[in-house]
């Protein structure tokens, strides 16, 4: 029963070109556990996400949301359980392999290339999954198709005017947008967004929500969000974690009316 195939190198390349298989779930997390010394940050979490689904992950601080992201994107090895991506086991794959399979993520705390320009940042994502990233003796600027793709992305994300600015000189709002843009530039199948609206003004949050809503419906998105307005506007289904454990899952109304969720968020009387 545990005969889940492992990805080979060729399959990874083939997978990128393949059509999305809508009959299998995009992501299945089975009994996933992560221990940090004596602390169990993620405790036997189960999660199934269908292709093209938008799912919000909620929970108070320390619920294990970001740790779960780190496990799925391969930053940490898991202590137990399995991660299946389109029915294949990726639990043991390093993070760069998972990225090659189409799993992209953003960070809660902005993690960009501060001393490079905006277009150089986007280029980094554009060339990440092609073999030419190892070419040493040909200038990057001579790859016209790549440069064109980068320029199109810059226009699409509304960053064209700022393309030659160093990222460290940009406002927090712009940096948050590049954070998402970097992940999108890789044409991901599964996008993990870790509080993309953290620290944004309400206008900026609104713009970001619009951007996310416009995304290709074939991309599966898992979103961590504290802002209820963004969360409820964006997703059909919501999963709630609490102290590393699965707590509740359901539609907006179901989760809103769940007594345990209310207790955690509003406090018991």
């Amino acid at each position: 029963m545990d005969m889940v195939e492992k990805f080979t190198r060729k399959e990874i390349i083939a997978r990128l070109k393949m059509e999305i298989d809508y009959s299998t779930p995009c992501l299945v997390v089975e009994n996933l556990t992560k221990d940090f010394g004596g602390l169990r940050a993620v405790d036997g979490v189960n999660l199934t996400i269908q292709p093209g689904e938008r799912r919000v992950l909620m929970g108070p601080n320390g619920a294990g949301k970001t740790t779960l992201f780190n496990l799925v994107s391969g930053i940490y090895p898991s202590s137990g359980g399995r991660i299946l991506y389109f029915d294949k086991d990726v639990t043991g794959l390093p993070s760069y392999r998972r990225a090659a399979l189409g799993i992209a993520r953003t960070y809660q705390i902005t993690n960009l290339f501060p001393n490079l320009t905006v277009s150089e940042n986007i280029l980094m994502a554009c060339q990440a999954l092609v073999r030419m990233k190892f070419v040493m003796f040909r200038p990057l600027s001579s790859y016209h198709r790549l440069m064109d793709r980068c320029n199109n992305l810059l226009k699409e994300f509304g960053l064209w005017e700022k393309r030659n600015e160093l990222v460290k000189n940009l406002s927090h709002g712009d940096q948050r947008q590049i954070e998402v843009s970097l992940a999108l530039a890789e044409k991901p199948r599964l996008l993990l967004l870790d509080e993309p609206a953290a620290g944004l003004s309400s206008a900026e949050t609104h713009a970001l929500t619009l951007l996310l809503k416009k995304l290709d419906s074939s991309i599966t998105i898992l979103l961590i969000e504290h802002d209820m307005d963004v969360a409820f506007e964006f997703a059909e289904r919501i999963t709630v974690l609490y102290q590393g454990k699965f707590l509740a899952e359901g539609t907006k109304e179901e989760v809103k009316n769940n007594p345990t969720v209310q207790e955690i968020y509003l406090g018991s009387e």
Binding site: Y107, L123, A128, S141
Partner: protein, 325 residues
């Protein structure tokens, strides 16, 4: 239009470099020709270290080790086995690069201070080898009497000026190759590793491999400088590859401006000049080196080349503001 000042500075810089390095040398005294030859060889070495420090963000304290290994291979082959130029030159680069491929396996997982310490230790093992393997390297005495090579051309490299121009050609080839290298997709990925390794991994880069390849390519270019040095000086000793030597190269990079490639070459020129100039008056060269280091950290932490860039940008902003008001 807005870049006219930067353009002008570039043109002035290039013209000056052309005059000083290409046109003027026949009029220099042989002391100055030798000094310029030294500057160019160290320029190659400093630029190669800049691949690691400036572009990949890894400070290596053992870079002189590769310079020395390559020079020793050339020295041994040329004096003991009387091999020709091509054999010696290629062997020097191959051996030093081979060593870096083994060392790379040990260092590429480290970053920051840990990288510094491991490279320091490995650099010292190479130094120790040169110092202790007496029947091969001559130990403390080093190897002397390395003959200037015969290229099979109707020119004699015993003439300092001819030798200078040959080194200049090597310098320009290395500069050209490294300039493309740092602008290539791979060079771009190194900057990403410097800025945020964790982000690179999540984007799909096998960062260990990128750091490893960067370490090896830096060593390969550094070993070119080493092989040339053996022919230039005719003498190689453990002191060419000890800790002080490694720190000197780092200082060249930091003084010139890490991440600018040509900056470290400029830094190498300044350090080599000061070293020769000052040591004519005093034995306390290390004291001066330390002082330069402190002054650089205090007043130009990003190096001369970046200082110039910032200054140009600042002037441009000012003129723009003036035009606007």
């Amino acid at each position: 239009m807005k870049d006219s000042l930067a353009q002008k500075t570039k043109i002035i810089g290039l013209t000056l470099a052309f005059l000083v390095l290409v046109v003027m040398p026949p009029f220099y005294t042989s002391y100055w020709i030798t000094l310029f030859t030294q500057m160019l060889i160290y320029g190659i070495l400093a630029m190669s270290l800049d691949i690691l420090i400036g572009y990949t963000g890894l400070s290596s304290f053992g870079h002189a080790g590769f310079f020395g290994s390559s020079a020793y291979v050339v020295a041994v082959l040329a004096t003991r086995y009387k091999m020709g130029f091509l054999t010696c030159f290629v062997s020097g680069i191959v051996v030093a690069t081979g060593i870096s491929m083994i060392f790379g396996l040990l260092v590429a997982h480290a970053t920051g201070v840990y990288f510094l310490i491991i490279t320091l230790a490995l650099g010292m093992t190479l130094w120790g080898l040169a110092f202790r393997w007496v029947n091969m390297t001559g130990g403390d005495n080093g190897i002397s009497g390395i003959p200037r090579p015969d290229l099979g051309l109707p020119i004699s490299l015993k003439d300092p000026l001819t030798f200078y121009y040959v080194i200049l050609i090597f310098f320009l080839i290395c500069l050209f190759l490294m300039a493309i290298y740092v602008r290539s997709p791979f060079g771009h990925s190194l900057k990403g590793v410097r800025e945020s390794e964790s982000r690179m991994r999540v984007l799909g880069y096998h960062t260990w491999l990128h750091k490893y390849m960067s370490y090896v390519s830096a060593a390969a270019f550094g070993s070119v400088a080493g092989a040339l040095w053996a022919y230039f000086d005719g003498f190689i000793s453990p002191y060419n590859m000890d800790l002080t030597a490694s720190i000197e190269i780092i200082l060249m990079v930091i003084l010139g401006g890490p991440g600018t490639l040509i900056g470290p070459a400029l830094g190498a020129g300044i350090i080599v000049f000061l070293k020769n100039f000052i040591s004519a008056y005093t034995q306390r060269w290390l004291l001066i080196l330390g002082t330069i280091y402190i002054l650089t950290i205090l007043y130009a932490p990003q190096g001369l080349m970046n200082l110039l860039k910032d200054w140009l940008k600042g002037t441009r902003r000012k003129t723009q503001v003036k035009e606007a008001s």
